[in-house]
């Protein structure tokens, strides 16, 4: 129950759409969204497929709770093989389009092949149409959104689209939905562009039903909402300050990646923090933050809606950016801020707008710019390479210009669009790419938060904080405090976070709910919606199954245990300041135990016994 049990299969090569039943046997093992779509991916493509070839597939998938009244149940994911990493990609987004997919009667949409010309999918309930996109190909995500609403004369259309960066081959292009929510990481938007698929516009009016036990579901959902409301993090902290509240926290604990992770504390952190977003600007007396915003059904509402000072150099002659739009999350603030040494809140807000407008992952983009700045500083990149751009750490002007170029796929921005791994290799400094498996690090230096080093190294989609967020325990003490500088017990902690997150990511719920909810809050909601077989134990088992399935895909794709590592900088160059001064990340102390706990060989390969245990 809870699933619509319908899959829409879109063959772009043949321009055909077909309805097929959801594989319920797989759903009973993989739940939905990330897990279930990964199962479809694994079964349907050769793991060695070239990610940007027509033989790759791209899946937009909801979870069984997506679109229901459960709090945070607005999530959907985009699953494919990543062109950035060559590993499995699964990028999760909120907003409203996941709910709309369910209201239109679909659990997931599978896109195969490549359209002979640019198209978009217009989906009104069970009537899919592939329509020419020649008038929107080449437009930004925002312009595409506007055009589609006008074209179909329907203000309630929900739209997921790529911007210009994806069309220009940027390898970390995002799929933007609802103007400023994003399936952001690993280049899922690039795969969409490679299929000549510009957008998906969906309208659903069927309602979301199929709840197995509606009374029990309402009870469980209401109890869950009460927990979120009464929790200080989800009831107060996140709505008021958003994820940006972490800027000062992480800086104080000495885990703020700064200037391409050379340093672990940023002197300008306060100026770009969540607190600073509340402060009135000296110029116009208005704060950066206009209001918070929530995704569908969310009772946390951590989203930021911001404005830029109209007199700021970045937009003073661009009135199209004078209005309020999606503001800085901690990840974008860090990547464009401390990692490039820029402490100009307006500039960071502007480049964040551009990431939404043209669909780019701000983490990879900011980190790649930081790597380029370090190469420029050291003479590996010259003005001739950058087209005259002075790519200096701390230069807000350079940051703004290079992000504009990358969004349009022009000049040196085209090279930034390759990501830092390829860029640094090209200019002879591969060690300056701060990546795992080709994907850039998020906002936590693993020298100061040891468990995150293991979480990054073993993440199935390359460096990522959302695959196992041990920061929650190591820094914030949720669910219980562990020492961020200790390695003991971290293998078990990382595995536990990874498995729980895989289950939550497969449900339709937001992982931020787990700052307040434990599995004992989540399981009753899923059980009431989907069936009593979904308990805390079976959910955790599903999470572990999903993790192993993703791992097996990566191994079959050609990755090995040797890819479970960190850049030399984090393993050899000690942190200079803060509580972690003198420390590197001691990955070698955690990784063997992690493999053992996972039931993998010493080389990091899932053993036949482990795979059998999960029916893989």
């Amino acid at each position: 129950m809870a699933w619509t049990r319908n899959v829409l299969r879109v063959n772009l090569t043949e321009l055909s759409c077909k309805k097929e039943p959801l594989n319920m046997e797989w759903a009973s093992q993989y739940l939905g969204q990330r897990g279930l779509a990964s199962k479809y991916l694994v079964e349907e493509i050769d793991p060695k497929v070239e990610p940007l070839s027509p033989d790759n597939i791209l899946i937009m998938a909801t979870g069984p709770l997506t679109g229901t009244m459960a709090s945070t149940a607005g999530r959907y994911s985009v699953i494919t093989k990543s062109p950035l990493t060559g590993a499995i990609a699964c990028s999760n987004s909120g907003g409203f389009i996941g709910m709309e997919f369910k209201n239109a009667g679909w659990d997931m949409i599978i896109f195969e092949g490549k359209a002979p010309y640019p198209v978009y999918l217009y989906l009104e309930n069970d009537q899919p149409e592939l329509l020419p996109a020649d008038e929107i190909w080449g437009k930004t995500a925002w312009a595409t959104d506007e055009w589609l609403h006008n074209q179909h004369q329907d203000p309630l259309l929900r739209i997921a689209t790529i911007g210009r960066s994806a069309e220009k081959g940027c390898l970390f292009a995002a799929v933007i939905n609802d103007l400023h929510r994003a399936a952001g990481r690993s280049g899922v938007g690039t795969v969409m562009a490679s299929k000549n698929l510009k957008a998906v516009a969906v309208r659903g009016t069927k309602g979301v039903g199929n709840i197995k036990d509606p009374a029990a579901f309402m009870k469980a959902v209401n109890e869950g909402k009460k927990v979120l409301a009464e929790n200080a993090v989800t009831g107060q902290g996140l709505p008021t300050y958003g994820t940006q509240v972490l800027m000062n926290v992480i800086n104080e604990v000495g885990a703020m990646p700064t200037r391409n992770m050379r340093e672990v504390q940023f002197e300008g952190a306060e100026k770009i923090s969540g607190e600073a977003m509340h402060e009135p600007r000296p110029t116009d007396g208005k704060p950066n933050l206009v209001t918070n915003a929530g995704c569908f059904a969310c009772t946390i509402a951590c989203g930021r809606i911001s404005t830029i000072d109209k007199g700021h150099f970045s937009i003073q002659h661009k009135p199209q950016y004078f209005g309020a739009s999606g503001g800085l999350e901690y990840e974008s603030a860090w990547a464009f801020g401390s990692d490039t040494g820029v402490d100009d809140l307006d500039a960071l807000t502007y480049v964040n707008f551009l990431c939404n407008e043209d669909g780019m992952d701000p983490i990879t983009l900011g980190s790649t710019i930081a790597a380029a700045m370090e190469m420029f500083e050291q003479g590996d990149l010259t003005l001739a390479d950058t087209g005259g751009l002075e790519l200096k750490f701390g230069s807000a002007k350079a940051l703004v210009e290079i992000v504009e170029l990358t969004a349009r796929g022009e000049g040196f921005g085209k090279e930034i669009g390759l990501g830092s791994k390829r860029l640094c290799e090209k200019y002879g400094r591969p060690e300056l790419s701060m990546t795992v498996k080709g994907q850039e690090f998020p906002a936590y230096d693993p020298r100061g938060i040891q468990g995150m080093g293991l979480a990054y190294a073993t993440s199935n989609r390359g460096a990522c904080h959302l695959r196992g967020y041990t920061v929650s325990s190591e820094i914030m003490g949720i669910p219980e405090k562990t020492d961020p500088l200790a390695t003991e017990g971290k293998a078990e902690l990382v595995k536990a976070f990874q498995d729980v997150t895989a289950a939550v990511d497969s449900s339709g719920l937001c992982v931020f709910s787990t700052f307040a909810w434990s599995m004992s809050d989540i399981a009753p909601q899923i059980a009431a919606a989907c069936g009593d077989e979904w308990t805390m134990d079976t959910l955790l088992e599903a999470g572990e199954r999903i993790w192993n399935l993703e791992r097996k895909f990566n191994m079959d794709a050609g990755l090995t245990g040797a890819d479970d590592t960190l850049p030399k900088r984090l393993l050899k160059e000690a942190a200079k300041t803060g509580p972690a001064a003198g420390r590197v990340n001691d990955l070698h102390k955690m990784l063997p135990e992690y493999y053992q706990l996972r039931g993998w060989s010493e080389e990091g390969i899932p053993t036949p016994e482990t795979l059998n245990r999960f029916g893989i």
């Binding site: 929790n231 200080a232 993090v233 107060q236 902290g237 996140l238 008021t240 300050y241 958003g242 994820t243 940006q244 509240v245 972490l246 000062n248 926290v249 104080e252 604990v253 000495g254 306060e270 969540g274 607190e275 951590c302 999350e329 901690y330 990840e331 904080h465 959302l466 967020y469 929650s472 820094i475 914030m476 003490g477 949720i478 405090k481 020492d483 961020p484 992982v511 931020f512 700052f515 803060g578 509580p579």
Partner: protein, 84 residues
């Protein structure tokens, strides 16, 4: 006496004088003073003070009523916060 700098963040920030909210306030206190006593001095609700750091290092709850400050310590305090 010890000289310490007190920084309050997130919802606690308005409890500091306006001119001290960014850099924190530096004060001289008796060397037997405890973190919880400092919180009370600034009217921070002790039960809501979740994340307490001295020089970036977490102060376990059992140490918050002990005299643990040294000269030039930076004492930073947040309510329960999280992000991603």
């Amino acid at each position: 006496m010890v000289r310490i700098t007190v920084k309050l963040f997130a919802g606690f920030r308005p409890l500091l004088p306006a001119e001290n909210r960014i850099e924190g306030i530096t004060i001289d206190v008796d060397d037997y003073i405890t973190p919880h006593q400092i919180l009370r001095q600034f009217k921070v609700p002790v039960e809501q003070a979740h994340l307490l750091l001295i020089n970036g290092v977490f102060i376990e709850p059992e140490r918050r009523n002990q005299a643990i400050f040294k000269n030039n310590d930076v004492f930073a305090v947040w309510p329960a916060v999280a992000g991603g």
